[in-house]
Symmetry: C2
Subunit: 772 residues, 2 copies
């Protein structure tokens, strides 16, 4: 656990330069715009410890799988997020001596990530070994208003010397993935050159043949006057740069504007790529840095209007939640249904792939409430577009007749994970994908999605479950054998309650969805059934299986059993574990973890969260107490579900405690792994803890409901959400719930089961009377 | 399945040269002497497809582990059987043109492995592209009488030309393992040179720093007269050779004698290695090829005297069983307790390591009956010597206080396998190691082994089981969770009947063994208890756990359940599987295999084989019928156990059917993998099928018992065994059991529960009267 980030409501601030923290800061200060992003690497040369990272969304490399022991059905490759051309390079030499913070004496170092306006600023004073002192202030952003563009302003002051500054600005495509399985480089050069002052380089990925053209234009001012001298071009393999030598006097300020564009063959014909990149650069140069920056500020203001959370009385919590919201919005903007939310976003390489069940289980609720409806919808369409691949994926495992198994980790719909106990057995992901469709319609009311996209997906999923169950003559029920539940500290278990529950629900919901489509649009219904070659007998099978599904239950404890045989384990509590044994995944061998009763992340409780309305408070409480005391939360996705359920059970202290465990996970480097990148998808869970937990927000019967409480550590909290065309601001203080309706339409809202019609403007509701 | 090996009672014969079969033949015709061995590679240059393999027992390389996803507790390395210096090289050039069977026209090719005398012979006529014809006859062997030595006689006749033959004889240490994880070479050169006519090269393994000195001496005759000309030395990195040019006339015969020695730093000081190698060569040269060969013939005659099986009326079966016995004797001679029986012996690289539970479960019975007592004993001592490593191995997994978990795969006592479901969970191996001690004493009567070695091992193993069980409040019994049984088509299961059975037995036997040692030698007993820091409370714990062990059982079917929940599976029979689905491990994805009811190899039945006397025939029959019909035998270790139990149940047809599945596994390349090497350890199972199955041999109450039958396809079968100092020949025909006692001591033998005293000489017992 680190504690070096300064508290600030809108900013992430690092003061002083500690090379040992540099890779952590490179992750924390990452910037992105949904289309591209990068770690907070330095513009100038740096010979110290660093993880270079520039990423272009959707551009991946199928790295050949590495495996100890091959199992039938493993995918051949693991899709890697690609480290792409580095376009930030601005090398500075003072009379031939390189500015390098690893060798210089560094003073007044400050790095600020301004979350309100979406930019990264860095300033420092560096004394070179010769004694020359340079003062640098750099500012850069990836434009969220024009997502092909990024810009840097890099100011250098020659503080104590007169001489020559050599400035080299480069695009370096000769980069590598640190996680390359066989130490290969993934890019090859297509072309490069200069078009007028604009440098460009087009690189192609091996195997996948994506092409990305990166272009930059550099403009240099000396004491605010444009420098006339022409830069000299430098070309090497996969590298293009230009260098200029500037005579400077002590006190002179050199300002370098560097505009960058990234365009890829996902969005342009390959022949048009170079033209698109230079056109984007032309737009940037035409507008200039200040105008681009203004547009950035405005675009971010708009995002905060939709999804800010304001916490009064706790700066650390305020900083944390904004950091989470900011990073989620940098990672995914929802404009493109081919993209998704990688577990590390644009902040690192780890985990490869871009899509996990995290998207459906954790991210969708966030985007539903804080972004236009299209954003969450595009996440659903992403899976719809990959349905055929999910069917092929299931076929590889022996399923047939249109059964679809979505992959555990994917970039393009194909499975890339290769651990049998996860890849083949963590099939509950299929349920989360169906649940997300339900959740989207519940929130938005957009049931037309079923006819346009959803039903096909639901049929594929229900077909999978039908084939995946088997009849147990022993239990006289349908069972699901050989699975791994959300709790990955159990492998290859039988009758995981969560999986069985979700499977039965999927089959019922698919039938319900079909009936709904039939009622709304009979011809579309017929068309879908024909297309998927449907036999109506399937409906009966689904119902019959769902009705006869086996659910493990322990009579004595009155709890749903996570899986068959769970009570055979030695029953211990997390509170009995010696501190030296934790985290278990670092201290215990894998088999010991597996046979212990300890749970990595919410499993039964994840199911009770999804299907909360089915359970009375006593049942929820019994299960919560039982499982909470056995859960070690060694997944960042776990505490949020516990926080929400604790809030449901009015255990405000526990709810807040679990919230704390996720909120500053990365900022405080809780797990010692922030240097690899941020835990992007679990950030949505932090948002959920506040909105669904503390505020108790849910949507039932087409209405918003709140069951709020105020953590005692806070004075108030408020958040902005969108709901069915209205934009609401919800503010919760100890005594009062205030709802501000920013639209002209009246919205009905339930608070503790009493319903209020909220017209335009603010309405204050006293909580005292209601919650008694 | 191939069928190119010619039937012969004592020989393995290949006629005609088919390059596509060459790697298979290289495996089948392998030779070895327990200390070194090699694949049947060609002496002369060969540019066709080949797997070069020369191995020195006990010399291994710890190749860095390759893994997809690291789990806590995995070993850092996988010990590889090392491909060592190639000493057979004899390159022939005719007027500069290389003799290479890949480019020449080959006629009259014949390869013979003479199992009676233990040598490999090859003859062929090769027409080079120039039209020159050479006739070659080569003969080579690894001396089992002097196991540092090997010899080759290589005869070349220049059939149709006069010119110059260039003969280069080499030691090539610049070799690689095909299965090198990171494409590394494992050897580096220490020294090389000539000492008089003898070439030597000393190589050192990286990391492990084994040194092996290989030396050769070449003597050449032209038409049976020594050639006077001196050879020219050739030295390259890790390579030493000498070349000679001989003018020949058409019809001349050149005979090359090449003597080779391999000595390693396991047996000599490194400083003395070169001296030891050249001394060995001097012995060989002094004796000459013919005398060395005579000693070889005599040594093998002795081995066959101890362990031959003679089958009348079925040449294919005769060839097969001798092949199995021959290969086992080539692999392990029992002289050195640091060595063991690798799954591929000296015939290939695959599976690395040298020791699996195969040794205890399958090989020990073979060596007990067919070799001096010391041989099986040394296999036990091997584990005794590795006890400390087994304790450390258990500690890595969280066990303590002297609990020992022997590794799944090892070279030096450390675990090298890295698949969690096997490495950490296939813990039944610990039971087989204890059972082997029991089995050894049961056969030999040598109970003193407990005091000298066995008890410490048994205590370490019992301590492991004690810590590995846990109390299930649910079942009110002790359970063993999270294991993989012998049936590796199930992973991470609970209460594997075989494992639970063996665990309870181990704890009881350890206590019994302790009592025995106490009674026999109280001071030794005290010394052992002190040494292992024993608390006598442990005895009570063991008994209590063994008494309260849980055994899954199905009342309805009346069978022991392989594991908890087995009856929840869809119950199918192997007979219902479509042929296209087999073998399952190639046709089904891993998860599908896991959740099916199909069994890879004997599991419950393995336990019933070990503890046969505990079960009545009806129980055995019910379990056999149930499991046999669900077992796919996709391990070569499976059919033998089924064959033996079928024989017990008087199902002679099934017993023979299962025998057939193993007997010619390699000779007929049944699984299409013989080219990788032979299935050495499963060969012992074939022997067991005949001796323990058809002949029904067992040892009970210090007496041999037979319950024989004759497969209807045979006229008779007989075998030689040693039992407690006597050497017996047992012959079974349809009507009669003949026992020839070659020693002067009278032996009591039971046949179908009637006891006979067998004095020296032959005794014939009519089976008709007895079996009625």
């Amino acid at each position: 656990m680190k504690n070096y980030i300064k508290p600030s409501e809108w900013n992430i601030v690092e003061e002083g330069f500690d090379p040992h923290l540099n890779k952590i800061s490179e992750s924390l200060f990452s910037i992105g715009n949904g289309r591209m992003g990068q770690r907070a690497n330095f513009e100038e040369a740096y010979t110290g410890d660093t993880l270079q990272g520039n990423y272009v969304a959707g551009v991946y490399y199928p790295d050949k799988t590495r495996v100890g022991w091959w199992k039938n059905g493993y995918p051949d490759y693991f899709a890697k997020v690609l480290n792409a051309a580095n376009w930030i390079g601005i090398d500075i030499k003072a009379d031939g001596e390189t500015l390098d913070l690893n060798t210089a004496k560094v003073r007044d170092f400050k790095r600020v990530l301004n979350m309100k306006a979406g930019y990264l600023e860095r300033s420092f004073t560096a004394e070179l070994q010769s004694g020359k002192v340079l003062r640098v202030i750099s500012k850069r952003f990836c434009s969220i208003a024009d997502d092909e563009l990024a810009a840097i302003r890099y100011e250098v002051v020659a503080q104590n010397f007169s001489g020559t500054l050599t400035i080299t600005t480069a695009i370096d495509g000769d980069v590598k993935n640190q996680d390359s399985n066989y130490d290969e480089k993934f890019w090859e050069e297509v072309s490069k050159g200069f078009q007028a002052e604009t440098a460009y380089i087009t690189l192609r990925t091996k195997k996948t043949n994506f092409e990305v053209c990166t272009a930059t234009n550099t403009q240099i001012q000396l004491n605010n006057k444009a420098v006339g001298a022409k830069a000299a071009p430098i070309e090497k393999e996969k590298y293009i740069a230009s260098a200029i030598e500037l005579p400077v006097e002590a006190g002179d300020t050199v300002t370098i504007y560097k505009y960058a564009a990234n365009v890829s063959s996902q969005n342009y014909d390959k022949a048009a790529l170079q033209g698109a990149a230079t056109a984007a650069i032309a737009r940037a140069v035409e507008a200039g840095f200040d105008a681009l920056f203004e547009a950035q500020v405005a675009a971010w203001a708009n995002k905060w209007e939709e999804g800010d959370i304001l916490i009064e009385g706790d700066v650390a919590a305020q900083q944390a939640i904004r950091f989470n919201i900011f990073q989620l919005n940098q990672t995914y903007t929802g404009k493109d249904a081919r993209l998704n939310i990688g577990p590390k976003g644009f902040t690192g390489e780890k985990y490869g792939g871009s899509t996990y069940w995290d998207t459906e289980a954790y991210c969708i609720p966030f985007y539903l409430a804080t972004a236009p409806q299209e954003v969450a919808k595009n996440l659903l369409v992403y899976r719809h577009n990959q349905l055929q691949k999910a069917i092929e994926n299931a076929e590889k495992l022996g399923f047939k007749d249109g059964a679809a198994l979505y992959p555990m980790v994917t970039m393009n719909g194909e499975e890339c994970h290769n651990e049998w106990e996860i890849t083949f057995e963590e099939i509950h992901r299929n349920g989360a994908i169906a649940f997300a469709i339900y959740n989207y319609i519940r929130y938005t009311g957009d049931a037309s999605y079923l006819a346009s996209h959803g039903l096909e997906v639901l049929i594929g999923i229900a077909r999978f479950w039908k084939q995946r169950v088997n009849w147990s003559a022993e239990k006289n029920k349908f069972v699901i054998l050989g699975v791994t539940g959300p709790n990955e500290y159990e492998n290859n278990i039988n009758n995981n309650w969560y999986t069985n529950k979700l499977a039965a629900w999927c089959m019922r919901y698919a039938k319900e969805a079909a009936e709904l489509v039939k009622a709304e649009d009979a011809s579309r219904y017929e068309a879908i059934l024909k297309q998927v070659n449907f036999n109506t007998q399937e409906f009966e099978d689904w119902t019959s299986i769902a009705d006869q599904m086996y659910y493990p239950y322990d009579e004595k404890a009155g709890v749903f059993l996570q899986q068959d045989g769970y009570m055979d384990k030695e029953q211990m509590l997390v509170s009995e574990l010696p501190a030296a044994d934790r985290p278990l995944n670092q201290k215990w061998s894998w088999d010991r973890i597996l046979r212990s009763c300890f749970i990595k992340q919410a499993d039964v409780l994840q199911g009770m969260y999804f299907f909360e309305d089915e359970f009375d408070t006593e049942t929820l409480e019994r299960n919560f107490k039982f499982y909470e005391s056995r859960t070690v939360h060694e997944s960042s996705l776990s505490p949020c579900v516990h926080s929400i359920l604790a809030a449901r059970l009015s255990d405000e202290e526990k709810a807040y405690e679990f919230y704390l465990r996720t909120a500053r996970l990365d900022l405080d480097d809780y797990n010692n792994d922030t240097e690899d990148g941020l835990h992007i998808t679990s950030m949505a869970g932090t948002w959920m803890s506040i909105v669904e937990g503390f505020a108790g927000m849910k949507v039932r019967d087409n209405k918003l409901q709140f069951n709020p409480f105020l953590p005692s550590q806070w004075q108030s909290f408020s958040f902005n959400i969108g709901f069915r065309g209205t934009q609401l601001k919800i503010k919760i203080s100890s005594a009062e719930l205030s709802i501000t309706n920013n639209s002209s339409e009246t919205v009905a809202v339930s608070v503790f089961n009493e319903t209020f019609d909220i017209a335009q403007g603010e309405k204050k509701i006293s909580l005292k009377a209601l919650s008694l």
